[in-house]
């Protein structure tokens, strides 16, 4: 599915009146698959855009497979952390649909700038899920060549990557790579908490001024560690975009179909030269902020349960079952594959070698530094001085 273009979104050029909406649901929330697994044929966003998807059965099954795999690999990483094999883990549990939907909406030429939680997007980009685990295991700092994978390194400093994405998107436009169907688009992921950072708002300014081919994708998982959304904003986050002069839309982030449709539409607008937009994927962080966190200190069980009922995978499964797009064999096979891949991941994590001590001096500068050469040499000699001793 990553290669084709099955989902289609059409924009009604004459903006529809504000009150017009799709068949069901909250006019402020684009949804194409209800928590019960009912399909909505199409839905109209606040600016009159009509969102719909038109997947083949195989593609629907593919999305389900993605969701299950991504959740399973994430659970495996959580388990690895519990067993001391990772230093920390930031789980995506609950956010699979937002990530798979948006990740699959990317075209091969598109570039993504993740936070530290976009394991699902990474997976959809076709990237080996082992890649970020070096960071969380502490054997490296998670580095890879962003251009090789069209996927930037994880960014931990909240919001910083949104400016990088904006600059990159400016470069896309400067390269003349927008304005056509095969133009490039850029997506910047960030969280609800990040929306308060100066950097993120500067990115909004820049993207607007330079009409950058950029989609701001905010996963509003309702919390920034312990702080609920009300500590970041008093109005829905998607409305922030209007203040900077570009469209914003809130999508049901637990609905993989709507997440796909909305993102694909926004990316295509961007690649066609229509500039930036903001997507707020309304979702929920079902687990802890990271494995270091204890969410029972700041939120109540009933809230978590209410969101459990909106689970992104359960609704997709219900849909596939109801529509007879998939049968028990299929679900079993997917679970089997998920298990296989997670075992494989685990094996490879355990096999990750610790870095050489002196590797800490590598790659500080492309052109090196005499100071570091000296420190490396002294440290090597120092280490050698212990050789043969009990140290």
């Amino acid at each position: 599915m990553a290669k084709g273009d099955p989902g289609s979104t059409t924009r009604s050029r004459r903006a529809a009146p504000r009150s017009r909406k799709g068949a069901v649901g909250d006019p402020e929330l684009v949804q194409l698959l209800t928590p019960d697994g009912e399909r909505v044929d199409s839905v109209t966003g606040p600016d009159g855009t009509v969102y719909r998807v038109d997947f083949t059965d195989e593609e629907y099954r593919g999305l389900y497979r993605d969701l299950v795999l991504v959740r399973k690999l994430d659970a495996e990483a959580t388990a690895l952390q519990r067993q001391g094999e990772l230093g920390i883990w930031a789980s995506l549990l609950g956010q699979e649909a937002a990530q798979v939907g948006s990740g699959r909406a990317l075209r091969p030429q598109d570039m993504a700038f993740p936070t530290y939680r976009e394991h699902g997007v990474l997976y959809c980009r076709g990237i080996d899920p082992i890649m970020p685990l070096g960071l969380f295991r502490g054997v490296d700092q998670g580095g890879w060549d962003p251009n090789e994978f069209k996927f930037n390194m994880y960014t931990i400093v909240i919001g910083a990557q949104t400016l990088h994405a904006t600059g990159y998107a400016m470069g896309v436009a400067m390269d003349g790579r927008t304005g056509t169907d095969d133009g490039e688009a850029v997506i910047a992921y960030f969280g609800d908490g990040a929306s308060s950072q100066g950097d993120v708002n500067e990115a909004f300014v820049w993207a607007g001024v330079f009409n950058a081919p950029l989609v701001f994708f905010c996963q509003n998982n309702q919390y920034a560690i312990s702080e609920p959304l009300e500590r970041q904003t008093r109005i829905p986050l998607y409305q922030r975009a209007a203040g900077f002069g570009f469209p914003g839309v809130r999508v049901d982030g637990n609905d993989v179909l709507a997440s796909y449709a909305v993102t694909r539409h926004a990316l295509d607008n961007a690649r066609h030269g229509q500039g930036p937009s903001l997507i707020e994927a309304y979702t929920y962080r079902m687990g802890a902020h990271t494995t270091s966190d204890d969410p029972t200190r700041y939120r109540i069980a009933s809230e978590v349960e209410a969101w459990q009922a909106k689970d992104p995978i359960a609704r997709m499964k219900a849909f596939l079952e109801k529509q007879k797009i998939a049968d028990a064999d299929f679900f079993a096979e997917v679970d089997e594959q998920a298990k296989r891949e997670s075992v494989h991941l685990r094996e490879r994590v355990l096999a990750m070698p610790d870095p050489e001590p002196t590797s800490l001096f590598d790659h500080v500068y492309p052109h090196g530094s005499p100071l570091l050469d000296q420190q490396r040499e002294q440290f090597s000699r120092y280490l050698e001085s212990f050789e043969g001793s009990a140290h």
Partner: protein, 329 residues
């Protein structure tokens, strides 16, 4: 005298509680300081007891935390800002160096910004990037800021209260890897009688060489001194406590006796505190030095991946190796 055994983290927590009790103008603000009690639980229970107007969960933006705290200070409050981790103080750097540090000067003394900026700092906890930085040089080089670090529970308890009571803006560096270390704390002794905030102190007397450290490296140096003593070498350990202004009187006195000094910190060596201390010792004790002042520090690289941080961080062996080198000069 009510002495309790507390961890450094708990001592800070009790010290903050005391400050909130003693002065209604003290407010604590930062990310997750409320219900969660901070990611290190240093503010645990405080919002529950003092309410969310005294212990304020802020939006996620460090410049905003410090910038609004400046405004609160102008209004007459005494804000105590928590920066969640060392690596996240930089978005607030402009507000700190251009506003907090300069307000008193610009106003010709008419305005005071009695603010404390608490930062858990340093490495050694196996964290991912940006969670193990030692930014003290950036603040110590900035005129108008005072910078301190505590190294034991008693100092943690007292110094945080002194910093809050002080009208100077204080960057308060907490040795995060030592949060869980325990020690006795006299929780009743009056603050007025306490050892001054901006004073160094001999942590272990010795005669053969002087070790200088602050925050997390004080423990490392004390361990090194213990090990050295087994080999018959008596190292004096000085806990600097105040990083800006430095209090070097006791250091000069020590180095004039020992003739040898090693400064230890986690931060990179280049243009770090160690350089300043070495330069000043050399100026003041030129004829007493048997060897140049040596530095044992983090290397001049970004803080590395957790699995090599033990190599990066100064430890007992590297400290003693440097001491040896001063004897071999």
């Amino acid at each position: 005298m009510a002495t309790e055994t507390l961890t450094i983290g708990k001592a800070l927590n009790v010290g903050l509680r005391r400050a909130l009790e003693n002065d209604p103008k003290v407010v604590i603000m930062g990310e997750d300081v409320g219900k969660l009690g901070g990611v290190f639980r240093i503010t645990d229970g405080l919002q529950k007891d003092f309410g969310d107007q005294r212990v304020i969960d802020t939006p996620l933006a460090e410049s905003g935390i410090i910038g609004t705290a400046v405004g609160l200070a102008i209004r007459g409050y005494r804000p105590v800002c928590e920066i969640q981790f060392d690596g996240f103080v930089y978005p607030a750097y402009d507000q700190i160096v251009s506003q907090v540090a300069k307000m008193h000067y610009r106003s010709r003394g008419k305005l005071r910004i009695p603010m404390v900026i608490r930062i858990p700092f340093g490495g050694g906890i196996g964290a991912v990037e940006h969670h193990s930085e030692s930014p003290e040089a950036y603040f110590s080089h900035t005129a108008g800021l005072k910078v301190v670090s505590c190294a034991n529970p008693q100092d943690a308890y007292v110094m945080i209260q002194q910093a809050i009571a002080s009208d100077d803006p204080v960057v308060f560096l907490e040795p995060k890897r030592r949060y869980w270390e325990k020690g006795p704390v006299d929780v009743d002794a009056p603050l007025a009688d306490a050892y001054p905030l901006h004073a160094a102190r001999v942590a272990r007397p010795g005669t053969d060489a002087t070790l200088l450290a602050y925050g997390p490296m004080v423990r490392t140096c004390l361990d090194a001194a213990t090990a050295a003593a087994e080999d018959g070498r008596e190292l004096e350990v000085i806990d600097l406590r105040t990083l800006s202004p430095l209090d070097l009187g006791v250091v000069y006195e020590s180095v004039r006796r020992t003739g040898r000094a090693v400064v230890v910190h986690e931060a990179p060596s280049n243009v770090g505190l160690g350089a300043e201390i070495a330069a000043r010792i050399t100026e003041e004790c030129f004829y007493s030095l048997e060897a140049p002042v040596l530095r044992v520090t983090g290397f001049d690289t970004p803080y590395p991946a957790a699995r090599v941080e033990e190599e990066y961080l100064p430890d007992l062996d590297r400290v003693l190796d440097a001491v040896d080198r001063t004897f071999g000069w």
